[in-house]
Amino acid sequence: MELLRFTTAGSVDDGKSTLIGRLLYDSKSIFEDQMAAVKESSERKGLDHADLSLLTDGLRAEREQGITIDVAYRYFATPKRKFIIADTPGHIQYTRNMVTGASTANLALILVDARKGIVDQTCRHSYIASLLQIPHLIVCINKMDLVGYDEQVFNNIVEQYTEFASKLNVNDIRYIPISALNGDNVVNRSANTPWYQGATLLNTLETIHIGSDYNHIDPRFAVQTIIRPHTNEYHDYRGYAGRVAGGIFRTGDKVTILPSGLTSSIKSIVTFDGPVNAAFAPMSVSITLVDEIDISRGDMIVKENNQPNVSQDIDVMICWLNAKGPRTGAKYYVRHTTKEVKAVIKEVVYKMDINSLQRKEEDKEIKMNDIARIRLRTTQPLLFDAYRKNRTTGSLILVDEATNETVAAGMIVD
């Protein structure tokens, strides 16, 4: 059974909560006591049906305001796959939340109200999915029941979206006509849409090929910590613990350690369950080397003929996550793979207008939820790849040195 992580986005009232509730309900992921609590709350609110959206409503403040304001994670499984949903609201702070949810997703579900068609919010969400390089996009055209399950309405929206999406960088986009409320094409194929030949939503989620979402080409292994047992049995053992970020590492491979540039070869790839011949993303292993080399956290094990970029000047697309924008010349901690260095924002190159997808070259004041291209100068070189090549070695966060808060998410540009 594989794991698929997806994010959901839509404007308020497009039916996102209802859809998630239905996926959970129809896949039998909702327990009787949870359902009883939902029914009770629904009754107290004077509703005559169980409001499935209550299942996906987490905290008290939100329940009081009747909105979701952060990223919440939901889980369900079918015999074919386990799913993790990063549920992000379309409300305030939407960009920052969606970026957060999108960062770990293989797939994005975008909801469109069939009566309204493509709206600003649809474009924003799609742009973010593309910016965060989510490999697969499913556009759910919802509330088909309210437009008489009309094929023409569906086709028009598909056409409109396809045109818009040509400006984005997403290869795999699918369209499904659904009714979250009635269940059409969510889990079961609908008799109301005989003109639709494609798969249902759940079937698509279960079968979409995600095997190539990880980079298995460029070997990257950032060292997290060094394991030294100090026991008689493992007296000279020195294991470099980490998680493979890309490529395949094999016993015997010649490797280069960065930033030192020293070379050695892999003696063994160690796990508790015994040595393995090959390690690939996203495995957590320990690597031992034939030679004794001084290696510390933040160093990277790579191959000689395939090395990452090494630089102190880094161009990044960022999403600003904090209420307080950056001060000019302010210093931040950059966290990238397992390394932390200090950095200063040298320049704001442009801000992105995520409704029109135009660059704003004049207005360069960064505020919360803004997307901008900036230039960073770090105190020490980072070992990185472009985000479009590797989502692990191409991503970073900025941490405010005064408050320790995570203030920005960055995707490294070539």
């Binding site: 987490g58 047992p229 998680r243």
Partner: protein, 301 residues
Amino acid sequence: MHKYYLNHLQELEAEAIFILREVVAQFDRPAILFSGGKDSIVVTHLAKKAFWPARIPLPLIHIDTGHNFTETMVFRDALVKENNVQLIVGSVQDSINEGRAAEETGINASRNALQTVTLLDTIEKHKIDAAVGGARRDEEKARAKERFFSHRDEFGQWDPKNQRPELWNIFNGRKNMGEHFRVFPISNWTEMDVWNYILTENIDIPSLYFAHMRKVVYRDNTWLPYSEFITLREGEQWVDKKIRFRTLGDITITGGIESDADTLEKIVAEVAAARSTERGNRGDDKRGETAMEDRKKQGYF
């Protein structure tokens, strides 16, 4: 094509191991909160795998309510011995004796809420800067938004509205003096995942999880086990039933379910068919719709 691929349990394991290693790399005095329940047993097992062949480099913290299942204590001591790991015990009874916590009174009295005081005191006393727990996001609504690295202020409190965004696999453990983190490596696991993992890895768990005969009383839709701390109410009586526990906690509030599942395979099958959540049998969550959230803000697990 599927040669370089992990199944969902392998991927969840790899994620949890990554997080445990980040904890050890980023903090000075991390510890594992060990309750004796299956989730903290799984976390301990993952820690064993993460640092092998070295021993687990984090001490275990056990918050002892004084209302324990004997089986849990025996199990704890055996596990500590086998892994040669340090054990720190925080005693709720001590907190009460020192006047730091007041015993609840009344018919539904329990020491569950008092654990928070003892936990925070223990964290402070041992200068623990990261307490690793086995909480999962699927357990309860308030947990669905919990981060992997969850920041706690100097009073040990959680501010759900002001959490640090967490992106990719980059975990920000920076903090000021006096603050600490709670870390949840198995956030993304469901109850089903935990049981499947225990089965796959053949992890030892307390016998309480398996169906067995026990003296119990039916109260609030659950079978409460016999203990000296429980007084029968009118109309109630002790009966012998074949039951098992889905979670383990304070003996006064942990209810069991009727079950014949006496092997791991049968438990997995039972969980797969289950019609209520595991916390449904815990008295502490029945105190209102936001009971868990309120306790978490105070610094509960």
